[in-house]
Every structure is written in structure tokens, then in C-alpha cells.
Amino acid sequence: MDSEFLKVDLFGIPWMTLNVPTMIMSTVAMVIVFFVTFFMSRKIQMYPTGAQNALEYLVQFIKNVISSTMEWKQGKNFVMLGITLILYVFVANMLGVPFELATADHEVWWNSPTSNPVLTISLALFVILLTHYYGWKMRGPKEYGKDYFRPVFFLAPFKVVEDFSNTLTLGMRLYANIYAKEVIMVMLVGLGASGAFWAFGAFIPLVVFQAFSVFIGTLQAFIFTMLTMVYMSHKVSEEH
């Protein structure tokens, strides 16, 4: 594609490449999530108003998502995980919607950090590792190990493959949706910049597509959290 990222080799080692704009953007997303939730939860009252209402609605929503996939006895540990994931992925998806900054020679400086496959797959990898950790911790090593041979013993290789494919699809789904959104938006902006006639022609599709990408971003954040809880329930639940 046309867009380029500023890349820096860490300590001068060739394969340790840092993607500087993606690091900046993911830090921006974290800072936004932290301060928004921090200032929304300062004045806690018995009868909630305004910001506290919105936050309690979010918590209730995550509780519903969790209790639809697993027992509440295990699920109560994952409320904060769900809120963190849905807020981070949502804010990261929304960052690239209103505008995108790039220098004249197509060096991108402001976009959605989730349009980078490395970020999404490492996020998915840590989610899968967390499910293994909680499966080990909550049910003990014996039950956790026996789970690989659970319905019949010869399904064990498929269970191992399933872990890898879960990681890959969980990350790739988020990446492909957001990256496709960014590519189409860059194409529409490029079309609008090519002439006065096309600027009128491309304006309305761009606005419509921005609304659609808000929808996509929200849905992907929800699906990421939902699937995290589904994978977690596969490892944590007592019986299948």
C-alpha cells in the first residue's frame, strides 16, 4: 500500500523493529481510557447521576455478557478484564474514524492502532494465555490437562490446533475489519482530493462510511470481548 510507517530498530538489532506511530497511538488510547474512566468514577453516590450512570450501564452490560457464557461463580473474576478490553478496543477503533494524519510522502502519524496486525495478534495472544492461566489456576493442573482429552482421547491434536487458530482468528478479525476500513477511507479521501467535481462526489460517501465505521468499530469491540469470554468459559467451566 501507499502508507509508510516510521520504523526504528531497537538497540540497532535488525529484527527488533518498533513501529513508532502504532506505539504512540496505542499509548494515546490507553491514556484516554484511563482518564475517562478515572474522572467518571470520582464522585460515587448512592443515587447515580450522569457519568456514573453511564459507567454502571457499561458494568451491567459486561456482567450480562459474562453471565451468558459461564457461571457467575467463575465469571465474577472477569468483569474488570471485560471492561478493560471493550473500552480499549473501542477507543482504539474510534481513533482513526474522524481524521487521519499523514505527511506529504504518505508517512502515517495518526490512525487506528488496531489496523496493525502485530498489535491485534499480540492482544489476542495475551488473551489466550490468560485463559490458560485461569484454567490452570481455577480447576487445578489435573483437570486442565485432562481437558485436552475430554470428549475422546484422539481429539487432543485438534485441541492443540484450536488454541493456535483461536489466537489467529481473534487477532486477524479485528485487524482485517479495521484495516479495510482505513484503506477504504484513504481511497475516498484520495478520490475527493483529485478534483473539484470529485470532492462533491466523495463527500457524502465519506460521511456515510464514517458512520458505518463507527458501527463496525463498536461491533468489533463487542465481539472481541464476547469471544474472550467464550474462550475463557471453555477453559474455566466445570462441565461441557
Binding site: M1, S68, T69, P117, T169, M172, R173, Y175, A176, N177, Y179, A180, F222, I223, M226, L227, V230
Partner: protein, 71 residues
């Protein structure tokens, strides 16, 4: 360049068709279930939102391959 562009177009188009048909089947079955038993709408929607990503995974891989093929 020309051949690769055609390959990318075919891959992305087929992925779109496959994803649309697969998701259509899932949503149609969910709608039929809801019309038969409106009271289990919530659990059906949960299962639908789990099933749609599973169906969509392979078209998404095709799209990623199309992106990788782009020069």
C-alpha cells in the same frame, strides 16, 4: 502487476460473496428460531454473535491474503 491485480480482485470478491452467504444462513436460522420462540431471543442472539465470527473467519483470511498480495 496486471495478473496480481486480477488475483486480488477475484480473492476479495469471492471472500465477500462467501462471507455474505455464510452470515445470511446464520442470521436466517436465528430469525426462524426467534419467530418460533420469542422468549429465548437473548440466548439466541448470544449464540448468533458467537457464530457469525466463526463463519467470518475464513473470508477474513482470504481478505488478508488479498492485502498481502497487493504490491
Amino acid at each position: 502487476m496486471g495478473t496480481v491485480a486480477i488475483a486480488v480482485a477475484i480473492t476479495a470478491g469471492l471472500a465477500a460473496v462467501a462471507g455474505a452467504f455464510g452470515v445470511a444462513i446464520v442470521v436466517r436460522s436465528t430469525l426462524q428460531g426467534i419467530t418460533r420462540q420469542p422468549e429465548i431471543r437473548g440466548p439466541l442472539q448470544t449464540v448468533m454473535f458467537i457464530g457469525i465470527p466463526l463463519v467470518e473467519a475464513l473470508p477474513i483470511f482470504a481478505i488478508v491474503i488479498a492485502f498481502l498480495l497487493l504490491p
